[in-house]
Symmetry: C2
Subunit: 612 residues, 2 copies
């Protein structure tokens, strides 16, 4: 097969690649680190580069994702997405600085400094000449740093047997300020931890190797508390509905986590008893419920949390199925409705170090918004509702196999990208956002969000699209996919749910800008984060007016930034301290009861008239 030379500017690095290779693959071969948060799925828009050939003929024609994320002018000027554009001839590529700067801190940049430390000890066996206590024998060889470390009772109870059965050849495991276990032989190269992001709807568990800093596996689950209400208010209400209700909710989320842990342990060949550390982020209500603390005060004036501080406890206290003595660390919350997940987003996006003002939005059942830079950070929370996580959407589902995650409408055709490349069975958050944006662009939705009936459609709308408009039992809808067992339909109600969500977020952004005393144009970058498993298309978010109309390359979908922040805090105690500093310094802006927020919200409900 033909080989082509790809040269990357400004560094001048080169690689020879086979015809048909993507520019992203060529960059990797040339050791040019282009940031591509969404992988190569053509969603995040972060890997925007420019072909410098004249004419523009060294790359295959633009793909559908490129046509969505790039403007016609940009395409004419040679702008492409590195993950989409495929090489057909020798070519020189200009990489803008933005594409080289990671939008969120890569794990490889976090120096592992875990709270778990392992020390291998080959202790001399006791003799009549050396008959000090087992504990003193252990301490004598632990080294100056750990010599005075405390052991809790369960380990003291296990000590004599642990030492003698291992012939005094053991690995001591320290977590935080405690020695938590003795393992037989030398296990210093096996050191594992889990990071968790507890959302109202989704729970994400990440298993990590704490020595290499590598992610070993991720499991996402529907939060088992979902049976007790879809939002935090209904959870709080349930928690106070009976004597055991709080415990039931606590057990529900722990069971969800345990199920994910079991799968992760199986897949990675790590025993759950080898996991000695867990770091947890989540919204304030999830934090309270996870710890078994009644979250009632979050929802009652004056809305103070029971705790906002970081908490250390043991896995056994929570019935978490990792090593029972493992330390569990919950990151601090900022306010009653701005939780440690937002702290983790700030940590992952390094907003506390940024010179420029950035806007980060964590999409979930609550939409948390952070605005600012290293000098000042503001945060607020909006009740966006669970639309982004597939709840309250007629064909909604979490971002798992069968979910439509991207939608394009072009030339009378509806194209979808389905997770797992199977027939579509539903629609996840990113697909919902795409669908509404594309339907609006295709003239199927009025500015008000009203789904137009076939007779009211503009003449330019293709009759193929008009055919997809349905009306059954007064329920209007649009058929997105018909290949599966049942067609996937977006209903008028679904559009309304999305309008409420995006309106709340845009209004929250407006209030933060007002409080900060800056305008939309002062924002250098917008980060769209979400824990729900997929990447939101920045072009769709902008088109719907959910975010200010910045150039699309300055809007980046970064996936589960809160999870990334949790992993950073798991990897390094320095990052935990940083998180505590962040939680203390972020200013919380309360939106509830603000008339200016309500007014802005009403204004922002419409779908807007912004062009793609």
């Amino acid at each position: 097969m033909a080989q082509h030379r790809v040269r990357f500017l400004p560094d001048g690095l080169e690689a020879w690649v086979e015809a048909g290779s993507s520019l992203l693959a060529a960059a990797t071969a040339a050791h040019v680190a282009i940031d591509a948060p969404c992988g190569d799925r053509g969603i995040c828009g972060k890997c925007k580069v420019r072909e410098l050939s004249t004419p523009l003929s060294s790359l295959e024609p633009s793909t559908l994702p490129e046509q969505t994320l790039l403007s016609p002018d940009e395409l004419r000027e040679g702008w492409r997405l590195a993950c989409q554009a495929r090489v057909v001839g020798d070519v020189t590529i200009q990489v803008p600085e933005r594409a080289l700067q990671p939008a969120i801190v890569p794990l490889s940049q976090v120096e592992p400094r875990p709270a778990v430390r392992k020390v291998h000890l080959s202790l001399p066996e006791p003799s009549l000449e050396d008959s000090i206590s087992d504990l003193a024998r252990l301490r004598r060889d632990l080294g100056p740093e750990l010599q005075s470390i405390q052991l809790d009772l369960p380990l003291l109870q296990a000590l004599p047997q642990a030492l003698s059965s291992a012939s005094y050849d053991v690995t001591a495991v320290a977590a935080g300020d405690r020695l938590v276990a003795l393992e037989r032989g030398d296990t210093t190269l096996r050191c594992f931890g889990v990071a968790m992001d507890l959302g109202t709807t989704s729970v994400v568990v990440m298993l990590m190797d704490l020595l290499s800093g590598k992610l070993l596996g991720v499991e996402s689950r529907l939060n088992g508390q979902a049976n007790y209400g879809s939002d935090v208010i209904s959870r709080i209400t349930h928690a106070n509905s009976g004597p055991d209700a709080l415990e039931t909710l606590q057990a529900a989320v722990v069971n969800t986590i345990n199920s994910a842990l079991e799968k992760l342990a199986q897949q990675s060949g790590v025993s759950s008893s080898e996991i000695y550390e867990a770091v947890v982020v989540g919204n304030s209500c999830m934090n309270h419920l996870f710890l078994g603390i009644n979250p009632r005060s979050l929802a009652e004036a004056p809305y103070q949390p029971a705790i906002s501080e970081p908490v250390y406890c043991r896995a056994r206290e929570l019935k978490l199925r990792i090593n029972p003595e493992a330390m569990v660390y919950t990151l601090p919350n900022i306010a009653s409705f701005v939780g440690s997940d937002t702290v983790a987003v700030i940590l992952a996006a390094a907003l506390q170090h940024s010179d420029e003002v950035k806007l980060a939005i964590d999409l979930g059942t609550n939409g948390e918004i952070v605005l600012g830079n290293r000098k000042r950070l503001l945060a607020c929370s909006t009740a966006a509702g669970p639309a982004f996580e597939g709840a309250r959407i007629s064909a909604g589902m979490r971002a798992t196999e069968g979910a439509i995650e991207q939608v394009w409408i072009q030339n009378g055709e509806v194209k979808t990208q389905v997770i797992g490349n199977v027939p579509a069975i539903g629609l996840c958050g990113s697909g919902l956002l795409d669908a509404v944006a594309q339907m609006r662009r295709a003239g199927l939705l009025a500015e008000s969000g009203r789904l137009l009936s076939p007779e009211k459609l503009d003449a330019s709308v293709s009759p193929h699209l008009a055919e997809r408009l349905l009306k059954t039992d007064g329920n209007e809808g649009f058929v997105l996919a018909r290949r599966g067992r049942r067609p996937v339909v977006l209903t008028q109600g679904d559009v309304r749910e999305l309008q409420l969500a995006k309106g709340a977020i845009r209004a929250g952004i407006s209030i933060l800008l007002k409080e900060y005393g800056i305008g939309e144009t002062d924002i250098s970058e917008i980060l769209l984060a979400g824990a729900f498993g997929s990447f939101v298309n920045p072009a769709s978010a902008r088109a719907l007016g959910m975010v200010p109309p910045l150039p699309v390359e300055r809007i980046t979908a970064v996936g589960n930034a809160a999870g990334q922040g949790a992993m950073m805090a798991l990897l390094s105690t320095d990052q935990r301290e940083e998180a505590t500093r962040i939680a203390r310094t972020v200013e919380h802006v309360e939106l509830a009861g603000r008339p200016d927020f309500m007014e802005q919200f009403m204004d922002d409900l419409t779908l807007g008239s912004i062009e793609f």
Copy 2:
């Protein structure tokens, strides 16, 4: 009633008292602090003073206890026991310096500095202007010393309800480095703790007011582990006899403690949930079993303990029925068979500060012996057997109601002092020692310990005593009391048990003197301690040769010195640090397997020929 003036030299302090008052009462009235460890029971011999009248006619004639503890020469010279001698005229009394110096540190000399601290907080209720977290609200008013104190999960879980139900008027309870409870209202004046002395046979629990340093009550119980063997070796064997055996033994001693705690709480009007601190001493095996740590290695070469260090844990971890979050602190052990009870004896006797060399013996199922002064302390342990605690003695019992605690044989009569002044039902340790010593003096026992048959008695022995000699079914004995339902008989076997016990102790003393490089005459004072509830008569101990033949006023019975040391450590964290220093510096002398010990032991088995 007539009043008499009593003047005490050397200070010249005076008091007017009614005729018939004891000198001890007069001394109290005159503010002369004569040390009387046994109270006013005429056992310990510590309150020896001298009447300076000529003729000696201002006091009632000497009592039986005085005739036992003082020599005829001493009585002629006017020496008396202040607790026994009663005033019948104006009198001047010489108080020797020794009687003014407490043999063990009085609790009143320990400055309370408990690990439990209480802080009353009247917190402002949350408002929209002041909606910080419950935890931050609590910390804000805790004061600089406690501001960063950690809360364990159970208290965090209880926090919101504890604050709101008390209208934010609470008392925070800190124990060690943790906040352990919030009490409603101001409870700062209620601050309680328990000290425990865990013996192989007896368990003693002491409830204290940690603010005043006062002892509120003492309860003594037979250790519930007694069903599983009477000595530590049989307990260790049982602990390893099956999968749950260790837990069974742990539960047994905890149940014993809980039963004592329940009674103490009832009697004193203290709720067990108000007890936030426990300090525990005991021999090394009891320490291990109490903590649920297998003591097997104590009994197998090379005899290393699992732990000798102090341990902190929570009451709930041990199922101890005080506040579940209370801190439980076990004092450090010295060696496998010299436990924290010996550390506590040293602490109570302040041996680590003494300029003079003293000898302290803790009588129990194991007899621990300490010799030395502030420059050097040696300790050893002898398997004295449970004779002093009433076990393996045919009429043996613990020092409770109905137990003969003192015996005098004079003029053909046997007089006994019975605890509770009821008909005798058995014999406790001090009574056993007295009985054998008195029988030997009365010519009823040969030097070998053989109980003489009536026909072999010296002609001078009263026929009334000869009548008390029994022989039934080959079992020889001597009737000590016949007023009760059944006569209380001391058998030949009982005498043998005592001989073994006292022989082991005297041989241990000899080895310590040898290791120290000093002789018996270098000992300035002998302290006889015991946790079994009664005071050993120093004269009897000396007469039987259990201790070196020092003048009787230099041998003092001090009761449960280990318990006293535990109370000191409960009252003051400084004392705990002192205990840790003591445990580190005491030199342990291993007696097991020493041929010189065995030889000495064989020599010391006889009852000796020492005159009273």
